[in-house]
């Protein structure tokens, strides 16, 4: 396999530590996503066919979902959300290729994306509601709820990132372990299931990000 579970090839520069294997996989994922996008948009036609059809279907489905959950204001987040879904989908599936690992099986990736989303949610909420209303929402319905509200905000990136990380990491570990214990049939079944899990987890991450963003955009909800 050439891949040790949980162990990373480290690189150090300027006092920072970076997981180079995660970086490589991330760049590979980015390259694949960009390649698909280029293939799909190389010769854009009014009557779509081939890759253009696939990407258009994905983009339109996500756009409809965005409009439904976030309202018309959410359309400006569409590039971010669609990219998030494509990146996570390709990233999740990458680990199913023997010899490769998912960038999402590194907590740094998932937590990074989750933190990015949550910071964005806070910024959007401040810009949309104003600073005082944003801060006021932490002591609703009464002051006693302040710790609960803070914990709720803090739990968002943690649940978001650990769910994805755990699912993908567990999938990769199980493939390796099952491959060693019961070769051929069971790992294949698990592999097929992991393909499904990869879609579901990418979808869940994207949907929850959308829902958090829409709660920042709209006045109702927390």
């Amino acid at each position: 396999m050439g891949h040790e579970i949980g162990a990373h090839h480290l690189a150090h520069f300027a006092g920072f530590t970076i997981h180079m294997d995660t970086m490589y996989m991330t760049w590979l994922t980015m390259a694949i996503v960009i390649l698909i996008a280029l293939l799909a948009t190389r010769r854009l036609k009014l009557v779509p066919s081939g890759w253009q059809n696939v990407l258009e279907m994905a983009v339109e489905a996500l756009l409809n979902q965005i409009k439904e959950t976030m309202g018309p204001k959410g359309v400006s987040f569409a590039p971010m959300i669609i990219t998030l879904f494509l990146f996570l989908l390709v990233g999740n599936w990458l680990g199913l290729v023997p010899g490769l690992s998912s960038p999402t099986s590194d907590l740094n990736t998932t937590l990074g994306l989750a933190l990015m989303v949550i910071i964005m949610v806070q910024l959007v909420a401040i810009m949309n509601k104003g600073l005082s209303a944003y801060l006021g929402h932490f002591i609703k319905p009464m002051v006693l709820f302040l710790p609960i509200n803070i914990i709720e905000e803090l739990s968002k990136p943690i649940t978001l990132s650990f769910r994805l990380f755990g699912n993908i990491m567990a999938g990769e570990i199980l493939i390796i372990v099952l491959g060693m214990l019961v070769p051929y049939v069971i790992p294949t079944a698990w592999l097929a299931f992991s393909v499904f899990v990869g879609v579901i987890q990418a979808f869940i991450f994207t949907m929850l990000s959308m829902s958090y963003l829409s709660s920042g955009l709209n006045d109702e909800g927390h």
């Binding site: 530590t17 669609i82 740094n108």
Partner: protein
């Protein structure tokens, strides 16, 4: 296994770069194409609606013309029928006049013939009466006196029963 380090920041940057690249190469052209397609479809539907309206207008026009033609044809038929009726009436009238004319001519002829016959008969009767009378009397009177006598008698008959001689 779950160390958190600068990879986190690097991943955020990677992701943002990916968003930027995808926005440039994929989303903008794609959204443009989608908008173009929507515009195209809207145009097509508008054009189709226009064509449909035009077709309906044409249809109405045709129907109007057809109705017009029908009315005109009816008018022509009516006129022809009226003309034919007038012609027929005229011919009937003419025939009737001709008949009447012929009838009156025939009657005239008959009258004339009868008058002629009566005149002939009268002279015949005179000579017959004279012959009979000469036989009865046995002696011939002068013919002029005889004729005068008989004619006076017959004229009297005429006055009492004109035109109804038993002949």
């Amino acid at each position: 296994m779950v160390e958190i380090d600068a990879t986190l920041v690097a991943q955020i940057i990677n992701f943002l770069i990916l968003v930027a690249i995808l926005t440039k190469v994929a989303y903008k052209p794609l959204v443009k194409v989608l908008a173009e397609r929507q515009q195209r479809i809207e145009n097509s539907i508008a054009a189709a609606d226009k064509e449909k309206a035009l077709a309906e207008e044409l249809k109405a026009e045709h129907e109007r013309q057809l109705a017009n033609a029908r009315t005109q044809a009816q008018a022509i038929i009516d006129k022809a029928e009226k003309f034919a009726a007038a012609k027929r009436d005229e011919e009937i009238e003419q025939t009737r006049l001709e008949c009447a004319r012929m009838l009156s001519k025939a009657q005239e002829e008959i009258t004339r013939e009868r008058d002629q016959a009566i005149a002939d008969m009268r002279s015949e009767v005179v000579s017959l009466s004279l012959a009979a009378a000469s036989k009865v009397i046995g002696e011939n009177m002068t013919s002029a006196a005889n004729a005068k006598l008989v004619e006076g008698f017959i004229n009297k008959l005429d006055e009492t029963k004109p035109g109804s001689l038993p002949c």
